[in-house]
């Protein structure tokens, strides 16, 4: 049975790239615990031999002709960017100072 601690919530938030405040850690720890306790009921079903379903409609690869078709222009692609420079997306630094 799950028992989610504040530390575990902090870890999940880090994995999910969510900055959380100290107050939020308390709130989410309580709520996630209740939710996980309630969904853990799926474990009551005996399903060892049952195949998993990832998708309701069984589909294999769908192929199409390899034809050129118009895509977005550079201007359209950059239109929603939070920052752009020289016709490119401008992003914050990726590497640390020490790297």
């Amino acid at each position: 049975m799950p028992n989610i601690s504040r530390d575990e919530v902090a870890h999940l938030a880090r994995l999910a790239r969510l900055a959380v405040t100290e107050d939020e850690l308390d709130m989410f720890a309580g709520q996630l615990d209740v939710i996980l306790q309630s969904v853990a009921r799926v474990g009551e079903v005996a399903a060892e031999d049952i195949p998993p379903t990832s998708h309701a409609v069984p589909l294999t690869n769908v192929f199409r002709e390899d034809l050129v078709r118009p895509g977005l222009t550079q201007q359209q692609a950059l239109a929603g960017a939070p920052a752009a420079e020289d016709g490119r997306f401008r992003v914050p630094r990726i590497l640390g100072e020490e790297a």
Binding site: A16, E24, L32, V39, A47, P52, T53, H55, A79, A83
Partner: protein, 506 residues
């Protein structure tokens, strides 16, 4: 005149426009006026596209004047589009701050089909953030109010679309249904909502929440209107790799057949598991009256057991958050949407975390973390893996049931509309609103909600859910249309006309 126009059905409006009794511009203007007068109170719309709506209406009127064939049976009729479908030149927010002000550079396939059919898109409707919720209280842009009682929720996530219909702001709307987001709002607003077979309506341009469950579909005030809209938006789309390459089921013909009021020979199963402690007495009573009405129409009604349906809710709240945690990783503050904290030498990772913290609301964060947990090594088998197995068992329950009956019925939601604020701090209580709707999402089968009268204790609408096998939508449309005709005959008019008059802003 204008209030008469807003109370007509889509089928009636389309006929009047083609007969030149009224122009599409007049119809569109009447709905825009209605929105202007009451939407300050209802808050169904996040964006009203006045100029383009009127110009689309003018184009239809020119076709009519020139004697050209209408582009579709709904040409000139206004519609409210859920703000989770992209439409070039209008904002798409999904009810989230993280997409505030984002204007997508392309139309969703559903949007394109609507525009090509001469349907007039009035604007974009409010929703729970990224369609996660059952009340629209999770919208970053304020709650939408239920026209039946302004202190109550209009359901969710498509509460903007359902409220727009019930408030006579639009005769047609588009919703999306991942766990009930079309059907539950329809249920609590006395309107009709349809979740088609998974893959029956293109997901191209539908901002993804849970890709194996998300399904767009039609919303309206009558079964026939929903069927007409279903045939406009349905069909194969090469841009959606999960789209089904098969003809749209003949739902309009089925609705018309149902309206004749004969269900003899139709076998209907009542799902035994959908009753008990979580069900409001007035909902159960209204549902039982509906079942009696189906019997009176000649249907053969039997009780059916679907033993794993009880596990649909927990399986859903593992599968949907897992897929959401992956899908919402795209909101990374780099190519579009909000960016916060790009200063003081913050790294991309820090900017990402700060942006997502500021841009997402509490429910979205909860679900991302639940999904992250369920997919992490050590927990995967017990949670996500087991939920996928339960999903198989639910599909098998449907298959077994449909061996004996043509359609299944149940209440759409266990309660009528709840009060704003009542379940905000109790996520598990909120999730129970989708108790009856989730199995169809997990199995990919079609289901719809049709109003089933009012609950005795609070006078609020109750929904009858009708479920059918994959690609057999015509069965449920026929049953729903027959029930609707019998209900209106018994009540002496359409149920939706009992919605209270709203105060009009001066």
């Amino acid at each position: 005149m204008s209030s008469e126009l807003t109370h007509l059905t889509a089928a009636e409006l389309a006929a009047k426009i083609q007969a030149k009794e009224v122009s599409s511009v007049e119809v569109t203007q009447a709905h825009l006026d209605r929105i202007g007068a009451i939407d300050g109170t209802v808050n169904a719309f996040l964006h009203v596209d006045t100029d383009r709506a009127l110009s689309a209406a003018r184009a239809v009127d020119e076709d009519v004047a020139a004697g050209r064939e209408p582009a579709s049976p709904l040409a000139g009729v206004p519609l409210a589009l859920k703000d989770v479908f992209t439409m070039a030149g209008a904002p798409t927010t999904c009810g989230s701050k993280i997409l505030d002000g984002w204007s997508p550079p392309y139309d969703a396939t559903v949007t394109r089909k609507l525009l090509e059919s001469g349907i007039v898109i009035l604007g974009k409707t409010n929703m729970d953030e990224f369609a996660m919720g059952s009340s629209t209280e999770n919208s970053a842009y304020g709650v939408t109010r239920n026209p039946w009682d302004l202190e109550r929720v209009p359901g969710g996530s498509g509460g903007g679309s359902s409220a727009a219909l019930a408030a006579f702001e639009a005769p047609l709307a588009i919703g999306t249904d991942t766990g009930g987001s079309i059907r539950q709002p329809a249920s609590v607003t006395g309107t009709v909502g349809v979740k088609p077979t998974y893959g029956g309506v293109s997901r191209y341009g539908l901002v993804a929440f849970s890709s194996s469950l998300d399904q767009g579909g039609p919303c309206a005030r009558t079964v026939l209107d929903a069927a007409l809209l279903h045939e406009v938006i349905g069909g194969y789309d090469p841009l959606d790799s999960t789209s089904i390459d098969a003809p749209v089921p003949p739902v309009v013909a089925a609705a018309r057949e149902g309206m004749t009021g004969d269900l003899s020979g139709v076998r209907i199963g009542v799902v035994k598991e959908f009753a008990g402690e979580w069900y409001q007495a007035g909902v159960t009573a209204a549902f039982e009256r509906a079942v009696t009405a189906l019997r009176d129409l000649g249907a053969d009604v039997v009780e059916v057991s679907c033993p794993h349906f009880d596990y649909a809710l927990p399986a859903y709240y593992l599968i949907a958050p897992s897929e959401a945690s992956s899908n919402l990783a795209r909101f990374d503050a780099m190519r579009y949407g909000l960016r916060v904290g790009d200063e003081n030498g913050n790294s991309a990772e820090q900017v990402m975390a700060l942006t997502r913290a500021a841009g997402f609301g509490a429910e979205v964060k909860r679900r991302i973390m639940i999904g992250t947990y369920a997919l992490s090594s050590g927990y995967y088998d017990a949670y996500y893996g087991q939920a996928q197995k339960v999903r198989t068992l639910i599909s098998q329950d449907f298959e077994n049931a449909f061996n004996g009956v043509d359609v299944l019925v149940s209440p759409t939601s266990p309660t009528t509309a709840f009060r704003i604020g009542e379940r905000v701090d109790d996520p598990v209580a909120m999730y129970r609103a989708d108790l009856c709707t989730i199995p169809a999402n997990l199995a990919g089968t079609p289901a719809m909600s049709v109003p089933a009268g009012l609950s005795d204790e609070d006078g609020l609408p109750v929904g009858l859910q009708v479920m059918a096998p994959a690609l057999q939508e015509q069965r449920m449309y026929r049953v729903a249309a027959a029930y609707e005709a019998a209900r209106d005959a018994a009540w002496g008019g359409a149920l939706i006309n009992r919605v209270p008059e709203l105060e009009v802003a001066r």
